[in-house]
Symmetry: C2
Subunit: 92 residues, 2 copies
DNA sequence: CAATGTTACGATACACGTAATCATA
DNA sequence: TATGATTACGTGTATCGTAACATTG
């Protein structure tokens, strides 16, 4: 599992639309589709159910989603902690 | 930030030794060194202080570490949730 | 000189974008 | 036929491993 897969997954969760998720992530649909497919392989099942009108989360997707939200939140926390001015003085 | 950088970082945290961390991650030292360097660039500072005998975490590294432990834990939780037998029946 | 970390370099793999294809309303 | 997702294909970047180098006890 890689971070970009997590970002793409969460973007699809929010938009329920691969096209708009791709736009939001600044990539093309094919790139996003493949990343999601690869994530689904790793996870061992479908995360989304693609249907005529809309895209839904599967049960598996619903189970995984909160964990991946945490992954993203924690990685962002790590970055903002690091960039916080509080530690400009003591990097060692 | 990518997941493999997180794994490598935590391996160095635990071993305080690039060589053994690389072994644990099944990569060569050069690969691990470069991954850590790149992470340090992204974070904006040194994460480890390399010294004659040993390797220590810098203050920055100490601040970042718990967040990256969370990232790893959450990603593993996502995977084990997905693979748990509980949802063999209802993947949709 | 033994152990540890870094740099150089060529090769491989992976993610990307464009374009073509499929499916559906 | 228009919209949205996938597949095909060639390209570029980034990571990798091997090997050479640097540093230090």
């Amino acid at each position: 599992m890689e971070m970009h897969q997590v970002r793409y997954f969460l973007a699809v969760c929010e938009t329920l639309n691969f096209t708009r998720a791709a736009e939001r992530c600044h990539v093309t649909q094919p790139a996003l589709t493949r990343a999601i497919q690869k994530l689904e392989e790793e996870v061992g099942g479908q995360l989304f159910r693609r249907e005529r009108n809309a895209t839904h989360l599967t049960h598996l997707g619903q189970m995984v989603k909160p964990h991946l939200e945490q992954v993203l939140a924690d990685s962002q926390a790590a970055m903002s902690t690091a960039r916080a001015p509080s530690q400009c003085s003591g990097l060692r």
